[in-house]
Symmetry: C2
Subunit: 164 residues, 2 copies
């Protein structure tokens, strides 16, 4: 029996790119998957999401969190964005899986203040804690992306497909 997988991935077209960019640009939060240093297995937690000037995702996390400690040990991570509505089958709603590498942004980094301003423009309530000593901006550099536009509508995208 032939491997059925290739047939399930559709060729990437402009509609798929537009859907994926739309999901990323609308995301206020996402589900971040990391390798848990305690177990070596995956752990998923919620993070807030904003975008840099190129439309690439970033987040703001506390050093006290599990995911922060995990990303310090292994920067490979994954971000799921695209929320279903309250009704119907949750699987008909499009969503985007990003495979990423986390890059912590030091406060001394030349880009820090610009990213901080962009972050606060998108997550204004974070003003309450963004300057706490344990909070860090983290860029999520996209290595690969998978769009699921609904049943049978799977696409594979590159960082360029998602580029601003």
């Amino acid at each position: 029996m032939p491997d059925p997988k290739p047939a399930t991935i559709r060729p990437t077209d402009d509609d798929a790119r537009a859907t994926a960019r739309g999901l990323l640009s609308a995301a206020r939060f996402g589900a971040l998957g990391v390798i848990d240093p305690e177990t070596g297995g995956p752990a998923v937690s919620r993070v807030a999401v904003a975008r840099d000037a190129d439309g690439q995702p970033m987040t703001l996390i506390s050093d006290l969190s599990h995911h922060s400690q995990a990303l310090r040990a292994d920067p490979a991570c994954s971000l799921l964005v695209g929320e279903p509505g309250d009704r119907g089958d949750p699987l008909v709603h499009p969503r985007l899986t990003l495979l990423c590498r986390a890059i912590f942004v030091a406060r001394a980094d030349a880009a820090h203040d610009r990213l901080r301003a962009l972050y606060l423009a998108q997550q204004p309530k974070a003003r309450l804690y963004i300057d706490f000593g344990d909070f860090r901006l983290v860029r999520l550099a996209i290595a690969d992306a998978r769009l699921n536009g609904g049943f049978g509508q799977a696409y594979r995208l590159t960082a360029d497909d998602l580029g601003g």
Copy 2:
């Protein structure tokens, strides 16, 4: 400097247990983290969620999906449940990270038909595809759980804390 981590985890109490059980019992979908066999890193995707008679989570996935292939290779996984509303800081909403082991339920398994009925009672639209040859019920056996009840409200829970 002392390790600040222990102080950030609160003692598990009945309120924490009730919040965690409530998040799990209300979940129609969740974010599933797996180890991606292509990269060895984490990958997060959306899955539908239902509960068995003991309140433990289960899902229904296609053999054609990335997460199904990943779970066949490595059953360690993580499920995030608890959706924020549309307003305010998404991080103030409680959410629950489950560390799980995936157990595929064969159609020949004695428990299959009972689980299928429970699944459909909670996800009635899945009737359209639950009997497709590539779809499998998968139990997500909880090994460990982390409740984040909002800023500074972190708890660690066991499977027993989440028991029906």
